[in-house]
């Protein structure tokens, strides 16, 4: 029999305050949950409950375990009979400095794999109302993916340093700039607006240089030929 262990983030509880885990649908995973077990440690006394429900709104305590200060409390394995289950901690009369809860699960006939565990952890929002609710975070600005059509074109690089871009103007919110030296004989150099034929970064004939940007920050890239005018291929994403 395999056991999956899931750490539950419990906020430090004030005197008399409760932590109630979001309800868990024991059939909402590919392998239904058969048994659960809670292990908790707190530096102040509290009570740990394993509760079950048929409808997700009316709950019955299946197991009640006293948490003695600075001693690990163990609910033991609780075989589930209803559809939903959750853990609840009711704090005693002293504010907790630190409290932690680990939930162990046994699936019916086997154990939950890592992916299923991850799914359960993601679904855990069991923060009581009196405590801060985690702020949803949306990741944006990844340079790993292209989210708009690229601008492509040619640009003539001369002995006068000028900005490099593909279209009529620099692409707004660009994430990436690729410049290919189309010359078979001449090098050019890239850098900031004061780039020269001496201090710029050289790009060999046929070579490509790629810059990656934070889309929120406009960063101009200048190029200057080491000799006569030459063409470069440009792609902005």
């Amino acid at each position: 029999m395999g056991v999956s262990v899931i750490p539950i983030k419990v906020p430090a509880l004030q005197a008399g305050q409760e932590y109630t885990q979001d309800k868990r649908d024991r059939f909402n995973v590919s392998l239904p949950v058969d048994k659960v077990r809670g292990l908790t440690w707190g530096d102040k006394a509290a009570t740990l409950y394993v509760e079950e429900s048929d409808n997700g709104s009316t709950w019955v305590a299946t197991k009640t375990t006293a948490i003695v200060a600075k001693t690990t409390a163990d609910t033991g394995w609780v075989t589930l009979s209803k559809r939903y289950y959750r853990f609840r901690i009711k704090n005693g009369t002293a504010t907790q400095g630190s409290i932690t809860l680990y939930q162990q699960i046994v699936g019916m006939g086997s154990y939950l794999d890592m992916e299923e565990q991850a799914g359960i952890v993601v679904l855990d929002h069991g923060i009581p109302e009196a405590n801060p609710v985690p702020t949803a975070t949306q990741l944006t600005g990844s340079i790993a993916t292209t989210i708009s059509s690229p601008e492509t074109g040619i640009k003539t690089v001369t002995a006068t340093a000028a900005e490099v871009f593909a279209g009529a103007t620099k692409k707004a919110n660009r994430r990436k700039l690729s410049i290919r030296n189309e010359s078979t004989a001449l090098r050019f150099r890239v850098g900031k607006s004061d780039v020269t034929q001496q201090n710029g970064f050289p790009v060999e004939p046929g070579a490509t240089i790629i810059f990656e940007f934070d889309p929120k920050t406009a960063v101009p890239i200048y190029a200057i030929s080491e000799g006569a005018a030459l063409e470069v291929g440009v792609c902005e994403e």
Binding site: G153, I154, T156, T160, A162, E163, G167, D194, Y222
Partner: protein, 74 residues
């Protein structure tokens, strides 16, 4: 094609170029290191790049009257 050069305070100039006089809706803008002379020297290159990159927006030159395919223009 018409253009305008604006001198910036950071030793660069900005070249604005448009083709409104040719009824082509393209407006380009590029920053160039140096002063007005540097920007002026870059004008033909920028113009050529824009005409090349946006060739589909420019009208195709009409074939001279009486000229046939394969015939060389004198």
């Amino acid at each position: 094609m018409t253009y305008e050069i604006i001198k910036n305070i950071n030793r660069t100039t900005t070249l604005h170029m448009n083709f409104i006089d040719e009824n082509v809706d393209i407006q380009g803008e590029i920053n160039i290191k140096g002063g007005v002379e540097d920007a002026t020297s870059y004008v033909p290159f920028f113009e050529n790049d824009l005409r090349c990159n946006f060739a589909d927006k420019f009208p195709v030159p009409e074939m001279p009257e009486g000229f046939e395919e394969g015939e060389m223009l004198e």
